[in-house]
């Protein structure tokens, strides 16, 4: 036993590398190699249909249990939204401004926004109101989760754009980020985009509202949100980054959105 301990180091190294090399000769099949399908975009995780189904169920349950798990809401949206994303992408392609967005791929990030310039814009302009919204509600455009489970590069951009436009929708609709405001925006989005995640959020969100908010939602805010969602122009087809100077009322008129009640 002691001679074993006294073996010279190179022998140990060779033995070890042989052992490790043998361990590395492994079966790499489609089943076991999760990296078999290439990543289509940074952060992409390829998944099989069964995995997507399980993810949808799991994330749905997790999101219901803890509504603050925004990542689970995001995963639910990605795994259930394929058809809606296709529809949205086609609407964008058929709209001249939407088509430009699909080709230029703008991103709404703190790094791409000139916050000072936007804050110095006149009151009532879209950019100024957006900055006010960010400040009042203590939110930032960088807190959106990245898309992971959409298996198409262009559709993943559409999904990402939808997430980034969500905050702008709050500004356009004049809704705060409290529970009632979020549910109202979800009703609008469900009517506009048809994403199952929005529909689920719209259906289950009201369960967490108190009686007064619920009444307000059902009688005035809700019908207004749905009506505007159906009649408004596609909100993803608007190049917001070039419209900061536009007046908010003007933009609402252009998009066919009535001011909130």
């Amino acid at each position: 036993m002691f001679p074993r301990v006294a073996r010279p180091l190179p022998r140990l190294g060779n033995r070890h590398s042989t052992v490790i090399a043998n361990a590395c000769v492994k079966r790499r099949s489609k089943l076991t190699d999760s990296r078999y399908h290439e990543e289509l975009y940074p952060g992409h995780i390829p998944t099989s249909p069964i995995q997507k189904a399980l993810l949808a169920v799991g994330s749905g349950i997790a999101a219901l249990q803890d509504p603050y798990r925004h990542d689970m809401v995001a995963v639910l949206g990605e795994t259930t939204g394929h058809l809606a994303l296709l529809n949205l992408r086609d609407r964008m392609r058929n709209d001249p401004e939407g088509y430009r967005i699909l080709t230029e791929r703008p991103k709404i990030r703190l790094s791409t926004l000139d916050l000072e310039k936007m804050a110095s814009l006149p009151e009532g302009s879209f950019g100024r109101e957006y900055i006010r919204f960010l400040e009042d509600n203590h939110v930032t455009p960088d807190s959106r989760a990245h898309v992971k489970f959409v298996d198409n590069e262009e559709l993943s951009y559409v999904m990402q754009r939808y997430r980034e436009v969500h905050d702008l929708l709050h500004t356009l609709l004049g809704m705060p980020t409290n529970m009632l405001g979020e549910v109202a925006v979800k009703w609008f989005e469900a009517a506009q985009t048809g994403l199952p995640m929005c529909a689920l959020g719209a259906l289950l969100g009201p369960l967490r509202l108190n009686a007064r908010s619920l009444q307000s939602l059902v009688t005035s805010l809700g019908p207004w949100a749905v009506r505007n969602g159906l009649q408004a122009r596609c909100v993803l087809c608007v190049f917001y980054e070039r419209r900061w100077e536009q007046s908010l009322d003007d933009l609402r008129r252009e998009l066919n959105i009535q001011p909130p009640p």
Binding site: R4, G13, N14, V19, A23, K26, L31, I45, V75
Partner: protein, 327 residues
Amino acid sequence: MAASVRPLLERMIFRPSAGAVSVSVADGWRPSPRCYATASCRSFSGGAAEKSTHFGFETVPESEKAKKVYTVFENVAHKYDVMNDAMSLGIHRLWKDALLRAAHPQPGARLLDVAGGTGDIAFRFLEYVGSQKGRWAGRSSWWQDICQKDPGNREEGEEGPTRDSRVVVCDINKEMLKVGRRKARRTGLADGVLWVAGDAEELPFDDAQFDIYTIAFGLRNVTHVELALREALRVLKPGGRFMCLEFSRVTDPVLARLYDAYSFQVIPLLGEVIAGDWKSYRYLVESIRRFPAQEALKELLEDAGFCRVGYRNMSGGVVSLHSGFKL
């Protein structure tokens, strides 16, 4: 990449004053005197002077592996126990119980649990030893007389079979240790445990300090397994026992396919839903595939100097318990 890099590297090694050359090799490569002398580079991308190793199914420089593993466990620390229960359907508790039963520690034993972050083994050890104490106390009085009177048994300040056991939990990851300490306070077992941040490849303990060394599901995350084994040998007392609980190769082919499918299809999914981290759990299942199998690990243990090395498969080979003695 390796073939084209080798001649370039050879030029750089033998002409270090060749000036700045942009080389797309692994990060951290420096032409140092060590490179001139080292002939036995344990290299997996042949020719590169920077040793590389596996990180799951990826190949990364050795210097990066430790950092990446640290990040994985930092991310999963708070959901580690929940995920263990979810992934193994609670069976990991049985495996850990089996480890303690095999070790059969007696009151007074000193345990070092390496990579034992959240304290599962440590707490089980204290409970086991506590129940053993109960059995010793119930024995006939003449046995207790022998134990107390025998001078060899007594150390200064301690009394026979009732002396306290100690467990040291050593983990490189501070988040995991934090979670473990919080658990200890909650379960009231905080007194018997010492929490130490340390590297398994370079333990911050003197020689011959411990009766038992355990490492449960941690050895496959160590960059240099043989260094960890040599450190284990060093800190064990003569007669001390090394025990390693680790995922291993499933022996039955049908079960192996089911296990593979479950590992790669379901586990990262559970990681995403419960812990919000798909990639860390994909690393975990990949690292299991890259770790040596039962016999290979047994050889490594024998090389490191352990005697009477043996292993026992559990759950059809999903997990294997390796044991060796320092004699």
